[in-house]
């Protein structure tokens, strides 16, 4: 039993990171129909910038803020320089552009930082907390708590603020949103900046546990994409549930079945879910209009 609890905690911790990456996918996808494969690079930028800023003597809180700002600038530049000029291109073309951006950012990180693995000290110590026979790292609470705060803030933003509602309107119908006076280009830029910030926070929170390096982004983007699809593309709740589910499945699969096939287990489950529910767990069955 303690074993199960241990697997669940580590699964949920990693799952929270997948959930944040999936949320980033969802926000950008809803605002602009772009599947942003550079989403994982935001996570990398968050972690790596914090590592190098603290190593240069910047206090951790300042380094964290700096890293989030750097990611937001990168997100904005990605939208302005690569996505906006390609407006109207086919979805596959846009995917290739974001993959190009992800390769570019990885190459840039390799030059600006280095090719080593890096870690951060845990925010509140390394003494594990004993709970029901399982040892839980304090950093896990930071990750889970951080993810929960982000989800609540996002919910409030979308439902309680005018800008948030403008984003929802743009997601629902871009033309109609423009007709009622919403600056949809601003909304799209905003969605990239927000996704970048969320990704960076995820990267900063998880670096003390999982380490970071210039090339952690691609696998995170894959898992986040899979999680978003598992939940139902475009559904924020689905993204969170999908992310946690992928993390849990991986941890349980690695613990009870085979650690070498850890990544495969998550994908097998996703394939099975998609075959049974082609729209994902929370997706609406799409009807093609003629």
């Amino acid at each position: 039993m303690p074993e199960l609890l241990q697997f669940c905690v580590s699964g949920l911790t990693v799952g929270a990171v997948y959930a944040l990456v999936a949320l980033g996918f969802t926000i950008i996808y809803n605002a602009s129909d772009v599947v942003n494969f550079a989403q994982g690079e935001f996570v990398m930028i968050g972690g790596m910038t914090t590592v190098f800023a603290t190593a240069a003597g910047v206090p951790l809180p300042l380094a964290v803020i700096g890293a989030i700002l750097v990611a937001m600038v990168v997100g904005l530049l990605l939208h302005r320089l690569a996505i906006e000029p390609a407006r109207g291109a086919s979805p596959v073309t846009l995917i290739i552009i974001t993959i190009g951006a992800s390769i570019f950012l990885r190459g840039l990180a390799q030059v600006v930082f280095d090719k080593q693995f890096h870690s951060l000290p845990a925010f509140s110590g390394d003494t594990p907390i004993r709970f029901g026979g399982a040892a839980i790292l304090p950093q896990s609470f930071w990750v889970l708590g951080g993810a929960a705060v982000i989800v609540v803030l996002l919910w409030a933003f979308f439902n309680r603020t005018l800008i948030g509602k403008a984003v929802l309107a743009t997601a629902a119908n871009r033309l109609a949103a423009r007709l009622v006076g919403i600056n949809t280009s601003f909304v799209m830029g905003l969605s990239f900046v927000m996704s970048a910030a969320i990704g960076a926070i995820a990267g900063i929170l998880v670096t003390p546990i999982t380490l970071t390096s210039y090339d952690v982004g691609m696998l995170l983007a894959l898992k986040g994409f899979a999680a978003a699809m598992l939940g139902g593309m475009g559904n924020p709740l689905g993204a969170v549930v999908g992310g946690l589910a992928v993390g849990l499945l991986e941890a349980l699969g690695a613990g009870y079945i085979s650690s070498t096939y850890k990544d495969a287990i998550a994908f097998i489950v996703i394939l099975v879910v998609l075959f049974a529910m082609p729209g994902g767990l929370f997706g609406k069955a799409s009807v093609e209009r003629v």
């Binding site: 291109a89 290739i96 992800s102 190459g107 030059v111 699809m229 990544d263």
Partner: protein, 315 residues
């Protein structure tokens, strides 16, 4: 010229001329080798383009089929004493069978859901290859027996240049015929609207499955050829990044363009070779070029150039 290129013999002929003409301009074995790699990639890309460009179905897992072909020639000859050519055939048959079995449920999905399903499937194949080390040598890869034909050992970059070039011409010829056939017309119809295609009496599921199986076999044969050329296989040819590379080649060259497939493959194979001098900046430059080409030449290189010349003539 547009009419000439639309003839089903014209495109393979152009590619054949290209293969012959380029052979006169090869300064060294290294260039023969790079060109052979271009022809092999182009073969896989033509197959994937049939699926993406004509039927409008994306696959982010095609490197998995490439890997099956590659490992068939690596594993079957030493384990079962199969001749490498028979191993190529066995790989192609196995790939077709797997694509047939998986294709049915997967192709029911649409858009991004299809993308993530093919992605997951490709990753499963890649993981199996790199984890079953007793059979495949694991992440380090394994050697491949040299091909021997009628007692003659096939070797040398120039020999493989001609073999892979020949395979490419055959592949392009088959693809052109397929596109011009009733199946090809059905594929283009379902690309525009599945519902309309169904109303017109097309068995959409069957048409999609057919092209999925055919494109998988292209990838498998290309994988086998690459394994024979290199004399060595590694799992990274089956992994996600290689799938993405193939998709990028399709889109870069031009969806629905056989010549574009060759152009896309040429760029992504030659570019990293040309950039090795800047090895620190290689990824930055590669990513930048991918983005710029896709922003500027959205329809892909060959269709964009064709449209440019057509526009000039009409003025």
């Amino acid at each position: 010229m547009g009419k000439l290129l639309s003839h089903r013999l014209a495109v393979p002929l152009v590619i054949a001329l290209l293969v012959v003409a380029l052979s006169f301009a090869m300064p060294s074995n290294f260039y023969y080798r790079v060109a052979a790699l271009v022809w092999i990639s182009a073969l896989a890309v033509i197959g994937l383009n049939l699926l993406m460009g004509y039927a409008g179905q994306v696959s982010l897992g095609h490197a998995g089929f490439f890997g099956i072909g590659a490992y068939a020639v690596a594993v079957l000859p030493p384990q079962f004493g199969l001749h490498p050519l028979l191993a190529v055939l066995a790989g192609a048959v196995a790939t077709a069978a797997i694509a047939f079995l998986v294709g049915r449920p997967i192709l029911r999905l649409k858009g991004h859901y299809l993308a993530v399903a093919t992605l997951g499937f490709g990753i499963l194949i890649a993981m199996t290859i790199s984890n079953e080390a007793w059979l495949t040598g694991g992440p380090d890869g394994m050697p491949v027996e040299r091909l021997t034909l009628f007692g003659w050992r096939v070797r040398g970059a120039d020999t493989w240049y001609w073999i892979s070039g020949g395979l490419l011409v055959i592949g392009a010829w088959i693809a052109c015929n397929l596109v011009a056939s009733p199946t090809g017309r059905a594929l283009r119809a379902l690309h525009d609207s599945e519902v309309a295609a169904r109303v017109a009496g097309i068995d959409v599921a069957r048409a999609k499955l057919t092209v999925f199986v055919i494109s998988a076999v292209y990838a498998s044969v290309a994988g086998s050829t690459l394994a024979l050329v290199n004399g060595f296989v590694t799992p990274d040819k089956a992994n996600f990044l290689h799938s993405i590379e193939l998709v990028t080649m399709v889109v870069l060259g031009g969806m629905g363009s056989i010549l574009g497939s060759v152009a896309g493959a040429a760029i992504l194979v030659v570019l990293p070779q040309a950039l090795t001098g800047f090895h620190d900046y290689e990824h930055m430059i590669l990513g930048l070029i991918m983005m710029v080409i896709m922003i500027v030449l959205r329809a892909g290189i060959v269709p964009s150039i064709a449209a440019f010349f057509q526009g000039r003539r009409n003025k």
